[in-house]
């Protein structure tokens, strides 16, 4: 088994009793994999990602990140290994400038200022936004904010990246840039999205969720070309395929 992996066994979760969001989810994700999680609205895609970083701990079953169980006492360690990009960048960014926001996590982990500076510079370079270093967040466009959000998680050099609807509110150019960027990352990536074309362009493996359960798990090319499977689960063929 590779060093970097996620292991989920019989995971179930409900915000309120009697209203289960996720039921009996079991999956394994390995190093360098890029997995797209798709499904109709409200099937629990975002919830699954939030459970992986321990934002909710009242689940049943087991979640292990690199053999570390997700529980209250392991959260700092888990969150150092996983970078989570929120759907809404305005919910992710809260400092005044890009530099301050990207430096927030390394500082919290007690890194010396010279190392913080190095990490921020490296994260900015990886995402290709060195020019935004001192730009104020409120002056940024949606695309710029999304890229800064990505940089904020990269400053901790995570092994795993979780992205919740990363292409929402991006124009075609920014979306293309994001896809290129995601493909350049060698991390284990899990992307929860409605943008099936994005999944087609970035993920080799796809998981379809419906009614809180995994209904399909397999190669993206195979699943996203199966019209019946998609339509049975409230989805449609990706736009790029439906035109053919």
């Amino acid at each position: 088994m590779s060093h970097i992996h996620i292991d989920i066994q019989n995971l179930s979760f409900a915000y309120e009793e009697q209203q289960p969001i996720l039921q009996n989810i079991t999956l394994h994700a390995s190093e360098h994999e890029a997995i797209g999680i798709i499904g109709a609205n409200g099937v629990g895609k975002s919830t699954l990602l939030k459970l992986l970083v321990g934002l909710y701990l009242n689940f049943s079953g087991h979640i292990r990140i690199e053999e570390i169980p997700v529980e209250a006492k392991t959260l700092p360690l888990i969150r150092e290994k996983i970078g989570y990009v929120f759907q809404d960048s305005d919910s992710q960014l809260f400092m005044t400038t890009a530099y301050e926001d990207i430096a927030f996590a390394p500082r919290n982990y007690g890194l010396p200022e010279a190392e913080v500076e190095r990490r921020v510079t490296q994260a900015l370079k990886l995402v290709g936004i060195q020019h935004l270093r001192d730009k104020q967040i409120f002056k940024m466009s949606g695309g710029e904010k999304k890229l800064v959000s990505l940089a904020t998680i990269l400053s901790l050099t995570p092994d795993i990246i979780l992205l919740d609807e990363p292409s929402v509110a991006l124009d075609p150019r920014n979306r293309r840039q994001l896809i290129k960027l995601l493909n350049s990352f060698e991390h284990l990536k899990i992307i929860a999205t409605h943008d099936l074309d994005l999944v087609l362009d970035t993920c080799q493996r796809t998981i379809i969720l419906a009614n809180g359960r995994i209904v399909a798990d397999g190669p993206t090319q195979e699943l996203l070309t199966n019209r019946k499977l998609l339509e049975d689960n409230g989805l449609e063929l990706p736009l790029s395929l439906s035109r053919k």
Partner: protein
């Protein structure tokens, strides 16, 4: 632009101003914070008739505005919100203060002097605070507060309240715009929907605040705010500025200003 958008613009403008690079901006945030507190304490120490001494304290503001390259005019413009409040507080003085100030054959109701003194104290204190926040980001102020050994919980509250304020305003702005678009003939928000909108505002802003807090937690936040930016180190120029301004303010405070009334103007309080 409605009032909420205006308030948001003001906050964003202030954030931009705080990112400047003047001498004042480059001073250590703790030096600026301590000086502001010291200055306000000095202002408060003046008696209600010590108007000349109080006026001399304006020198701190002139120096500060000059070094920060901020517009004093803009600072004064921002006073418009606080000025009516300060006026209200002191408005009764001319009527209830029975003392008289006599110089030569002229007699002046001392209540007017105490009223002006109170106004000046308010104006100077607000301008000094403006000088601080317009040259120091909220992160730097929080960092300075922690260096001054203020409790962690208090600093966190301060920082999050500031963040929450922006969130609240953003949500209020969105709600009021959505309302205005569907109620084009109304000038404000009808009182019948105040309750619903206030509830919506609270729920939405709590949601957003929770998301932001999650984002902080995911990036290792554990209740302590760390700042290590370029201003983290305290150096000689900070000492020089702090000591010289404290010395100047103390000197002005200790000057026998009352002699100006009695010897030069030849007046006295009755």
């Amino acid at each position: 632009m409605n009032k909420i958008s205006g308030a948001l613009t003001e906050i964003n403008k202030l954030n931009s101003t705080a990112q400047g690079s003047s001498v004042m901006h480059r001073l250590h945030p703790l030096a600026k914070l301590l000086l502001t507190i010291f200055y306000i304490a000095m202002l408060m120490s003046f008696g209600k008739y010590q108007i000349f001494g109080l006026v001399s304290m304006s020198i701190y503001l002139f120096i500060g505005f000059h070094l920060s390259r901020l517009s004093l005019k803009e600072g004064l413009w921002r006073l418009r919100l606080i000025l009516p409040l300060v006026s209200m507080v002191g408005l009764a003085n001319p009527f209830f203060d029975s003392h008289q100030f006599v110089f030569g054959s002229q007699t002046l109701n001392a209540g007017w002097i105490s009223f002006i003194t109170l106004m000046l104290k308010g104006i100077f204190a607000v301008l000094a605070s403006y000088l601080l926040i317009a040259t120091t980001s909220i992160e730097q102020i929080c960092y300075a507060m922690r260096l001054a050994h203020l409790p962690k919980i208090l600093v966190t509250q301060f920082l999050l309240t500031y963040r929450y304020l922006t969130l609240l305003l953003e949500q209020a702005d969105t709600i009021s715009q959505a309302y205005a678009l569907r109620a084009p003939k109304q000038t404000g928000i009808h009182f019948k929907v105040w309750g619903t909108l206030a509830g919506q505002l609270l729920l939405r802003s709590i949601d957003r605040a929770n998301a932001l807090y999650d984002s902080m937690l995911l990036r290792g936040y554990q209740g302590e705010y760390y700042y290590g930016g370029p201003l983290a180190a305290w150096n000689k120029k900070d000492w020089r500025y702090l000591v010289s301004i404290v010395f100047l303010l103390l000197l002005l405070r200790l000057l026998p200003w009352s002699l100006l009334y009695t010897k030069i103007l030849g007046g006295k309080f009755l």
